[in-house]
Symmetry: C2
Subunit: 432 residues, 2 copies
């Protein structure tokens, strides 16, 4: 295909959805991508630019002639243009802004003035509004008369003369009502707006919680400035999950499978270095017990069992707590109950594991005291792990930090240190 | 509030959204919940039942008089009724089915006949269709004449006389076109349907990939049987993420912060027991080197550093790979490139960490050989961790299993065993 047959390439790609072409571009390597774009360009679609992953978008835009990019972005709604601009450097931003119509350009620049990750960045400026006193017939006639309507709209927003939103009517209701019906009487029962500087994760939560399909955005004065649609909220929700999962694992939140090795090292090495220091804590704890290990060298082989099982238990408790904080199922109102639940579950798990490990230790070493020490250390560490898994993210949240941030490293350090300390400490007391 | 003042309770709860009342019920404890429901019942809303978390829904429904539940479910769309029924035992299901109108009952029973987790369970049966040859005017007149329309609909689906869907028109387009326009000419360019037995995760992926707002569902014969709306797809996406995160951490996918201690133990203990056995592998490896440890007891303190840093690196690589498999950014087409990228990143991280740890080891123990052994073991284990993190989920996926399933346990076992083996093995060769 890359043999230069332009007609063939276009013929193959033509029937595909922009999202699929973008996936294809992401998965081939950089030189194939350039060759493909050289053949394909001139026909590039704005949707393709917005579908493409941000890690390669700059490269793609850079490889295209400026006028092709300008043409492509002109068809997009403002929220998609903002999304593309966010990740470019400022000369590239300027070139795209210059290509837009005056009105779109102002709209995009206003949106870019809101902080990154805010509702203002997420919204489209294209809104469909009607005065509150209009009838269904007036609204339909108005819509028929408009030349340009947004690609997506699901409600007509009712506004007062100062553009304050008062409610909204779904298009389904407008279509099924008689022409004489007042829009006001068809408005949805529940109606909410978000402020333009609201955090986008909060917006996604509101969409998910209240099953919204679109939501008007207002400025500090309460006036309508745009609308956010559910597909954008779904995207934020999706990225929020990704961020939680990657942060929990100690990877930079921007990590992508498409990154090269150096970007990957940059994201991961910092946490590995942090872990090198926290692991040295465990080493220090163990080194305090060298006399005990010298006396009974079998302890050296057994000590990772208690630490490792504690690490898994801490990770389990942590995953449930981080998820519950994200969905707001864990709040100040039930934190006490959840912590007590973890305490109870940790104690029960600890006793069950202690029974297995204690008996196995006794059987293998023929010494009930070794079994007893393993069992006791296991119970202590399982309780520490279960509590740590919920208390670490709760504490981070209370400090105003992301509860997923490096929780994994904190919790496994805790369970490692406690695991070695409990096991070797008890062994020193009981066995020597 | 729980002092029995019914009017006060209703007054406080009345202005709240069903989703917020459900959250409130989830966060108070079981006895408060019963007292609250006793006061509140008689007025219960179908939406509240569908918002409530499935872990307590059975309890809530059990505590309400049968006729109150029956009344509540009657207003819901069929997909919401199906969602409630799925989690109940069969006598409770029967009571709710009996309460429905004949038509709704048949629709719900047909949906329940599709496998759990399929598009057929997710769809609502209420659809808005029009013959392909209709004009906008005919469609509007038809909608105005219908008594009952679905709560949510965003498209009119065009069908042939045998109910095969041919395309769809957004309501926005219908509203903005003249009455004479043919619906056919307004149909969306891209149109796709899903089969009723398609997996719901696949459906959520299609919505997210193609930015759909609703999608018709067809049976094996290609006839329209229902429609899935984006809010349901968003919900599946959300739960799919939760499942991945919990499975990665070795927790049952149904785990919730609302579970009691025994449910929690049931979810977590199995993986802890598995880990007890895998950790014994590490113990076995270490026990083979008891002579080495006896000779240089400091090795016992140092050995967890290499294993623990490897565990973190494996978790990082794993999180990125599992996420990329879920979003289909990692496929057969680029697996080779991603594996090579991990190999390179692992080697670079390993060398960086080896430099720090090797010099520290030399400085602290005054012996360049100890530093050298630490450094070499670190490089080996970082490479194993990076490769294991991507190869384990790829292998699980190729075997048709969920790539998140217990990957965490496999990868940390691998990095523990390799960490101890590389460090103690090299130490035996070099230092003795």
């Amino acid at each position: 295909v890359e043999a230069g047959d332009r007609a063939l390439v276009l013929g193959l790609v033509e029937p595909l959805h922009a999202a699929d072409i973008a996936d294809f571009l992401e998965q081939i390597d950089a030189s194939e991508r350039l060759a493909f774009l050289a053949l394909y360009s001139g026909e590039i679609d704005g949707d393709l630019l917005s579908e493409i992953d941000e890690t390669i978008r700059e490269e793609v835009i850079g490889s295209l002639p400026a006028e092709v990019v300008a043409e492509a972005v002109r068809d997009l709604d403002t929220d998609d243009v903002v999304d593309i601009l966010e990740d470019l450097d400022s000369p590239a931003q300027g070139r795209i802004l210059d290509a837009l119509d005056m009105a779109d350009r102002v709209a995009v620049e206003q949106a870019m003035a809101y902080p990154e990750g805010s509702a203002g960045r997420l919204m489209q400026r294209e809104v469909v509004v009607a005065p509150e006193h209009w009838t269904v017939g007036e609204a339909i006639d108005f819509l028929r008369g408009e030349e340009v309507l947004p690609d997506q709209f699901y409600h007509v927003i009712l506004v007062d003369p100062r553009m304050k939103p008062l409610g909204y009517v779904t298009l389904g209701r407008i279509l099924s009502a008689r022409r004489e019906a007042a829009l006001k009487d068809l408005a949805e029962e529940s109606f909410r707006t978000v402020e333009a500087d609201e955090d986008e994760e909060e917006v996604a939560y509101i969409f998910n919680q209240y099953h919204l399909i679109s939501c008007p955005v207002v400025d500090a004065g309460g006036r309508l400035v745009g609308v956010i649609t559910i597909d954008d909220a779904m995207n934020v929700l999706d990225e929020g999950h990704e961020e939680d999962m990657l942060l929990l694992a100690g990877v930079g939140e921007e990590a992508s499978v498409l990154d090269g090795p150096f970007a990957t090292v940059r994201q991961r090495l910092p946490w590995l270095v942090v872990n090198l220091f926290t692991a040295s804590l465990s080493a220090f704890v163990i080194s305090r017990f060298e006399a005990t290990i010298t006396a009974i060298v079998a302890l050296a082989a057994l000590m990772p069992i208690v630490a490792s099982t504690g690490g898994i238990a801490g990770t389990q408790s942590l995953a449930v707590a981080v998820r519950a904080l994200a969905t707001r199922d864990l709040t100040a109102a039930n934190a006490r109950r959840v912590v007590l639940r973890e305490l109870a579950a940790g104690a029960i798990n600890g006793m069950a594991l202690a029974a297995i490990l204690g008996l196995a230790g006794w059987a293998i070493f023929g010494d009930p005291w070794i079994g007893g020490v393993l069992a006791m250390a296991m119970i202590v560490n399982q309780i520490v792990a279960a509590l740590g898994g919920v208390l670490v993210p709760l504490t981070l949240e209370r400090m105003g930090l992301d509860p997923a941030l490096a929780s994994g490293t904190f919790v496994t350090t805790l369970t490692d240190v406690m695991g070695f300390l409990a096991f070797l400490g008890l062994a020193t007391l009981v066995l020597l």
